[in-house]
Amino acid sequence: MMASITTNQRDILLSIEGTNIWSGQGVQTFNSQAIAWGGLAKSLFSVGQRYEWLTLSFVIGFILPVPFWIGHKVLGPKWRLDYWNTPIIANFIGLLNVGINSVTMAWFIGGWFSQYYLRRYRPNWFIKYNYILSAAMDGGTQVIVFILSFAVFGGAGKSVDFPPYWGNNYQSGNYDYCMVSPGDD
């Protein structure tokens, strides 16, 4: 399976941008990190070198939550400083680097709808069905993605184009109308 994908989609997987279906980002990340941290760590990441802050951020991370905690102890609970979770915030600062970004807003809207509206105003429905629904949709998506990847998107060799309609910017650039990276053609 892996071999068939890497043979058929080789150019896309090696490219900088990938497509909306295939992309080699995960492996590219592994590879770049391996070369940089494993091979060139001293000359790239030691203090005084080009990417020193990548290492120093480990140290900064240790003290990141401390101001919030001290502030909460000093100023009292009405400032709600205990609400902010610095590890989560810090992790999401890097969010947009990897993956498909056009879904981020939809992700938040879906989450807010479920966790704010349903949980507060439809608690019975929430308790009964929210997690079941989530699991069911995930499961269904996994199945259909698996089938589509091989039958339609070219995992097994021949890919079938989605028919043109008003929303997909048919064959004239990225589906989401984003700019094509200038060095990537």
Binding site: I16, Q25, Q28, N31, Q33, A34, I35, A36, W37, G38, G39, L40, S43, L44, F45, R50, Y51, S57, F58, I60, G61, F62, L64, W69, D82, Y83, N85, P87, I88, I89, A90, N91, F92, I93, G94, L95, L96, N97, G99, I100, N101, S102, V103, T104, M105, A106, F108, G110, G111, Q115, Y116, I127, Y131, S134, A135, M137, D138, V145, P182, G183
Partner: protein, 318 residues
């Protein structure tokens, strides 16, 4: 960057599914997301780390020869000698590679979150995690060293944790105690098999892996998968230091990129399996399906939150 974008593709939205993230986690995520936009735009237009020479978003290494419109990828095979080790002379010839600035920010952000998770847990969740080192208390060590506690395999031998009398542990875990535990033999055998299999990969003669890890490195990075019964807090105290070591593990070994790659590869796999175990313990079936590609600190922290929220929903129901 996803602002005002509309998408209905659940395959990409549910990665992981937003439906089981508590509101607090979502709001924190959103603040991080806004900061992300600001920082990414900032480093690019501030031209930090020569950002404008390279693509805006990319995970590949580039060389100095790139400019804004044509990107030259770093030729990584040119700096390796025939043993797949980095040769300083060849590096001097090729020049040092560049990350794209956003990728550097991504690494910084990940590193920040790794260590701040440790501090955060110590400051805010000390009561939740302290049971995981209760084991080392003098009174408990005394208890463990009494021979009558060694007969744990006999029926009726009581454990201090997770027993029926344990009122501290996660309610779902206590409910699961109604079922008979799978025999330890099963997990030990599984561990043994995996251990043998992977070890043969790493030490077997001519494969690519044989260049990779010294044995102790490998056994250290796969440790989180060890069969470990019971409290999720035990996992927590286990995984966090491991993640730090994982990230630095590559750097302190000799200059062999494949080593670092193999290290983080096997370590990340086992760590994410560990966090799946936590989540499936705590937040019903949905978590196990949707955490597969989850960045681990969020996953673990949100599972902490989920535990709390489930406690709420359980108590409001009864």
């Amino acid at each position: 960057m996803g602002v005002l974008a509309l998408s209905f593709d659940w395959q990409y939205i549910a990665n992981p599914s937003p439906l089981w993230y508590p509101l607090q986690t979502l709001n924190n995520n959103f603040v991080g997301y806004l900061l992300c936009i600001v920082v990414f735009v900032g480093v690019y237009y501030g031209n930090i780390w020569n950002a404008q020479k390279f693509p805006f978003l990319s995970q590949i290494l580039y060389t100095d020869a790139s400019n804004g419109t044509s990107f030259v990828e770093f030729n990584q095979t040119a700096v390796l000698n025939e043993n797949l080790e980095v040769d300083p002379a060849l590096v001097a010839q090729q020049g040092l590679p560049y990350f794209t600035a956003t990728f550097a920010v991504y690494i910084i952000a990940t590193n920040l979150s790794i260590t701040s998770t440790l501090t955060h847990l110590l400051l805010w969740n000390y009561n939740d995690i302290k049971t995981s080192w209760d084991f080392f208390r003098p009174s408990n060590l005394k208890y463990v060293f009494q021979p009558r506690t060694w007969t744990w395999w006999k029926p009726g031998a009581s454990s201090k944790w997770g027993g029926v009398d344990d009122k501290e542990t996660d309610p779902h875990y206590r409910l699961m105690l109604a079922y008979k535990d799978a025999p330890n033999v099963r997990s030990v055998t599984l561990f043994e098999k995996i251990f043998e299999f992977t070890h043969s990969l790493f030490s077997g003669g001519t494969s690519w892996f044989s260049y990779s890890l010294p044995f102790w490195d490998w056994s250290c990075c796969t440790r989180p998968t060890r069969p470990c019964r019971g409290l999720s807090s035990t996992y927590l105290s286990f995984i966090f230091p491991m993640m730090l070591i994982i990230s630095l593990g590559g750097a302190f070994s000799s200059p062999v990129p494949s080593q670092a790659s193999a290290f983080s590869f096997s370590a990340l796999n086992s760590a994410s399996q560990g966090s799946i175990t936590i989540c499936s313990q705590s937040s019903k079936c949905s978590a196990a399906i949707s955490t597969l590609e989850n960045p681990w600190p969020i996953c673990i922290l949100s599972s902490l939150d989920t535990i709390a929220s489930f406690k709420d929903s359980c108590s409001s129901k009864t």
